[in-house]
């Protein structure tokens, strides 16, 4: 296995990590963000549109964050404050976003004769570190979002398990009544977690459009939001587990791209490699023995009246 493939795997796992870590936080507080596929999509679109129109990748990513957080706010309002069903609401938002992105892509850019492209996020080799054989090429020749990922994993682990905020978040998913009695607003905690998921999901989506491809298409996400959602389950609602999960899925995806680029290997059809992450999810979901499901996951909090 070449080092280039591993470096690519690490890159491909980046957006999945942003998505699944934010899902860990939201689900620990008791809300599944089933709108994640739509949040990824609008992040990808807003990231692309913002970058194309402003000429700045930074502004593009800001647009993606904003679009993601607005979508998440709509989702959070309906599911947390109006207490509607999370799976159902998520699906509605995912369809709406599909229409929204396709529609406004056309409103803003019309029907271009040649595909619109932007320059994707540059790979920034870290001085000295990138010169280390193997490790340098693998870990220190990546783009900015991947570097950020290295920091996000330990920070989120620390926040979730070593701080009082983390304790509150976890209690909100396990025993919201107790949190409420302690004078903390359950809905506010959950809503903020969903907003964070919107910001992170927006960035993750932008990674697919401007992170390496430099273009947008409405099928660009293709279920990756759901994969991030699944990784959160498979990683047992733990940042460490999510990290390991994203690496595995990043590798599977890099392998699929690699296999397609060399035109398959005759023995196994290409489609098998494309389907690999999904098959892997099913197999891992089945083989997983015990789960630490947050007790009140998916249950809206209703105060006794």
């Amino acid at each position: 296995m070449s080092i280039g493939l591993l470096a690519r795997a690490l890159m491909m796992s980046t957006p999945l990590l942003y998505g699944s870590i934010s899902e860990v936080f939201a689900e620990r507080s008791g809300v599944m963000v089933t709108a994640i596929e739509g949040i990824f999509l609008i992040g990808a679109w807003a990231g692309f549109a913002g970058t194309y129109l402003s000429g700045s990748l930074f502004i593009g990513i800001l647009c993606a964050m904003l679009a993601g957080v607005l979508t998440a706010a709509l989702y959070g309002w309906i599911t947390i404050y109006l207490k509607q069903h999370q799976v159902v609401t998520g699906t509605a938002i995912n369809i709406l976003m599909l229409g929204f992105c396709a529609f406004f892509q056309r409103v803003i850019f019309g029907v271009p004769t040649i595909p619109l492209t932007v320059k994707p996020l540059p790979v920034i080799p870290i001085p000295f570190l990138s010169k280390i054989p193997w490790i340098g090429q693998l870990f220190f020749t990546q783009n900015i979002l991947t570097y950020l990922m290295y920091v996000i994993v330990p920070i989120s682990y620390f926040v979730l398990y070593k701080t009082s905020i983390g304790l509150t978040i976890r209690s909100t998913g396990e025993n919201p009544e107790a949190v409420d009695v302690a004078g903390i607003n359950v809905e506010k905690i959950r809503f903020s977690m969903v907003l964070i998921a919107g910001v992170m999901g927006g960035i993750a989506g932008a990674f697919y459009s401007i992170g390496y491809l430099g273009m947008f298409a409405t099928n660009i996400i293709g279920g990756r939001g759901w994969i991030a959602f699944a990784i959160c389950f498979l990683g047992n609602w733990n940042p460490k587990g999510a990290f390991i999960g994203t690496l595995i899925f990043g590798l599977a995806e890099a392998l699929a791209i690699y296999m397609q680029s060399i035109g398959g290997n005759g023995l196994f059809p290409n489609e098998l490699f494309i389907a690999l992450p999904y098959i892997l999810t099913i197999v891992l979901t089945i083989s997983r023995k015990s789960y630490n499901v947050p007790a009140k996951l998916g249950v809206p909090y209703k105060k006794e009246e």
Binding site: Q84, A92, L272, T285
Partner: protein, 354 residues
């Protein structure tokens, strides 16, 4: 008419209206007149028999995928994999039709195709229920992922054994006329699939509300713990429910391939699964309501397409309309629960007043 049903009808209609108004406002970004555009949408539906028939053609697969979601929903289970079950059904229908069409009379071939599609789709869907029963896996995740696996199976088969003889595009050869579902109304594309769909909806309603199996399914959905205590085997029900749900979605593939497309084209009808979910929500998961909700979505699809061509609006306006309608329908759930609480309160006050 009782008050609850009146609320249901009224709030749902308002939700649909609001959804359309919101998507109409989006047209302003294109400097289009929404009233004119929607005028085209609705008037075009009645311009000829062919277009009017298309509403029901478009509604047919959606009735099945709507039923597919609603059926598991009644057992408090989530089948998000209708899209994949639809593709599996399409693949089986196309493959079996192509291999039987020259071997036997068309009617007999159609019956065999139908039965094999039901069994194949049922097994594909039933797998989700099986792993839930056997390993307690999350059916939401597994069914979701199974869609992408089904998609790749279809891609693979269309690239290899099922590929057309010309070998140009990833699609099958056309089915011979003998194995087409017969037309329902001449001069339209409307076929018997719509009748099968309506029959399926009525059948599912009877199954859910008039049989003991349906009672057990709803009992598990209502209160799994109580159902278990009363001796209902939930595990077996998971498998049966998912089998039926998968079979329903697969039959959508049968009616599309044998009734509409008369061939299998890679990645066709990519939203039929999620639209089905939307329809189930719109209909409050009532099998009979699903028929009407699917017809509404058929109207939006048929009229939306004509509107996009005639008023030069992108066809994504269709997804936008569906998305907005779904959001407002969910909001109407909230409004209804508020109305219900208010009514209960005033009833209590009346009682207390006496």
């Amino acid at each position: 008419m009782n008050e609850q049903f009146r609320d249901l009808l009224l709030t749902t209609l308002l939700a649909v209206l609001f959804g359309l108004i919101f998507s109409g406002l989006m047209l302003l970004f294109l400097d289009k007149n929404p009233i004119e555009a929607f005028g085209i949408l609705f008037s075009s539906l009645f311009r000829d028999k062919y277009t009017f028939g298309d509403i029901f053609v478009k509604a047919t697969p959606l009735i099945f995928t709507g039923l597919s979601f609603a059926f598991t929903y009644k057992a408090n289970l989530f089948n998000i994999g209708a899209q994949g079950q639809f593709y599996i059904g399409s693949v089986i229908s196309a493959a079996v039709s192509l291999s039987l069409q020259d071997e036997m009379p068309g009617a007999l071939a159609l019956i065999i195709v139908f039965i094999l599609t039901v069994i194949g789709g049922g097994i594909w869907g039933g797998f989700v229920g099986y792993v839930k029963a056997r390993f307690k896996t999350n059916e939401f995740l597994v069914s979701m992922m199974s869609t992408y696996v089904a998609l790749n199976i279809m891609d693979y088969l269309l690239r290899t054994v099922l590929k057309e003889t010309k070998g140009e595009y990833p699609q099958t050869d056309s089915l011979s006329k003998a194995v087409w579902l017969p037309k329902l109304v001449q001069g339209t594309r409307l076929h018997w699939g719509f009748v099968i769909a309506v029959a399926a909806a009525i059948g599912i309603w009877i199954l859910l509300y008039k049989t003991s199996l349906g009672f057990r399914i709803r009992a598990v959905g209502f209160n799994p713990e109580a159902a278990r205590m009363s001796g209902i085997n939930a595990k077996k029900l998971y498998i049966i429910t998912f089998f039926i749900s998968g079979a329903l979605a697969a039959v959508a593939g049968f009616t599309e391939v044998n009734g509409m497309q008369h061939m299998l084209v890679q990645g066709f009808n990519p939203n039929v699964g999620s639209e089905g979910l939307g329809i189930a929500i719109l209909a409050n998961a009532n099998p009979i309501g699903i028929i009407f909700a699917a017809i509404l979505f058929g109207i939006l699809r048929t009229g939306g397409l004509i509107m996009s061509q005639m008023a030069n609006v992108p066809s994504s306006i269709i997804e936008l309309m569906q998305g907005f309608v779904m959001i407002f329908v969910i909001l109407s759930y909230f409004v209804r629960s508020k109305l219900e609480i208010k009514r209960e309160k005033s009833k209590l006050q009346k009682v207390a007043g006496i």
